[in-house]
Symmetry: C2
Subunit: 360 residues, 2 copies
Amino acid sequence: MAGRYAVIMAGGKGERFWPLSTSKHPKQLLALVGDKPLIAQAADRLQGLIPPENIFVVTNAELVEATQRAVPMLPPENIVGEPMGRDTAAAVACGGALVGARDPQAVFAVLTADQVMGDPEVFAATLRGGMDLAEQHEILVTIGIQPAFPSTGFGYIESGGLFGEAAGVQFKKAVRFVEKPDAGTAQRYLDTGKFFWNSGMFIWSVPTLGKAFAAHCPEMKKLMDELTAYASRGGISQGLEKTYPTLGKISVDYALMEKADNIVMACGTFSWDDVGSWPALESHFPHDADGNTLIGNCQQIDSTNNIVFSRDRMTAVIGVDNLVVVQADGVTLVCPKDRAQDIKKMVMALRAKGTFDDIL
Amino acid sequence: MAGRYAVIMAGGKGERFWPLSTSKHPKQLLALVGDKPLIAQAADRLQGLIPPENIFVVTNAELVEATQRAVPMLPPENIVGEPMGRDTAAAVACGGALVGARDPQAVFAVLTADQVMGDPEVFAATLRGGMDLAEQHEILVTIGIQPAFPSTGFGYIESGGLFGEAAGVQFKKAVRFVEKPDAGTAQRYLDTGKFFWNSGMFIWSVPTLGKAFAAHCPEMKKLMDELTAYASRGGISQGLEKTYPTLGKISVDYALMEKADNIVMACGTFSWDDVGSWPALESHFPHDADGNTLIGNCQQIDSTNNIVFSRDRMTAVIGVDNLVVVQADGVTLVCPKDRAQDIKKMVMALRAKGTFDDIL
């Protein structure tokens, strides 16, 4: 049997949880939920499933050292830094090269670094079942998440007929991938029972991934082959430096998932949360009697339904509603919960000014 | 001619500008408006009018050193600390004792430490004229401020017939003192042309003050006499320690101004602002195109009519309206402008918890 590997994708830019998250300390390195950095929780979830030496992390070159400190359970050399972000297809090709250089027949999972999951046994079974099937069949396995509510914040996967069952988990044929829907569409998706959230996690073998790239995105096939050669000589960083600057930015969804016809979707029934923005923390922390989620050193008077995050010094709110108030190391952000998506806009605006690097 | 003195009352507790102001660093020690602490501006206003050695400051015992640093132009021994707050009548008696010990016939002004004033020549003329009259007549002079708008935030003085003119300033008989009115009453006051804002500044001679205390508040007469004896021996602090603990709390308005019938009001036509709370800063700073008053290191997107104060680290707001957002040394406060009066409530609540002394 070929070896089993995992590649944790950790390319977050730290915009959505600003000012707590920054480019030097993005979401996956924060213990936003739980008592370890999210990426350490991602590595912990693989215990008993994949040996640490078979777990790679692909992150930004600037974050390699911080990531090594965040996942001390992994061999430091398994943390690989991309010299620049080139979207997920390139990161997957890089992961495929790292794994393929060790074992050209291996099966590997592509996992996320900054999502929060529960039900670890169910997650482990989903991964184990997916790896079993990816070993036996020439398929691209994607993990769909049974939707808990009609979210407009995720893409969806429409599932078709049953492909098989493995490790107690159902796997269905993937019919199509769709972008984030509007509220009405999301509700219709939920009503059909066929639509699952697109988690961005995948399982496949090195040869099957190579074939899929060759068929649908030759640029990535070429990249994976070149990087595999570098990785075999222990010089993946050199390979990344050489190949990345001229690469286009393509997502793995666009490069493969929307084109391939051998996609199988795992019906993920473990609890899962992308925790995509400050308001998403509400479901992970207790609320006070006025519906406020107060995390850290917070005080409120006559305030309702706010999210206040202030782990170091105090943040006090009086008479406000439905706000996000964050204070991190003295940098403060205030915005209505329904404007949380614009935090990224603020970070962009500050970056454009070029004088706030220390807090971005 | 008897000497001329001033007593600057600096007993602020630093609640209304929290978290910037704290009990150890109250409003009068802050350069809220202008580039010097407000109390230093108060001392500067007396240049050419009263020699520095004749200017006393009455503050809290805990603030003596910080106040000495804030007004280095005054002799350090002229900064006197009350062991505890006993309201304004006691502070006036203390001031009377300090002045009386130097010159029993002196005229002195009781001035505020934390108000913002413009038109320094008009202010100086008002003080000079008031002192001239207080030398010539047995009167209690109070400085009224020509109201700029129907404020509900100040008490008012109703003026009667002309008492006299001095240094180009009109002085009228004071008819009565009234508490902060409601909006309708404030407008009616303004319409009569007879009502002036009660600034809390006074001018009188030591003997006239003594007589007024004797007539209307014997406890304060006794206090002033005792403290004068201590001050004459250079031991006012010892006197305060001995007398204050058992004193009642009485305001000078209640002890004297609402009772005496020899009160004359100066018609103050200099610009004057009590700057009683964060929203009051709006009239002292420029606004951006969206009506925001951004003081310090602030950034906004889609936000209107907010006051954001962040002199050290950055504060960013997105999509909010009519808020006060203050960040001082990492402590953050958020409240609607029309709830600014409740900042005091928050400070009280935090004091009651007893664990936040370092930020109160």
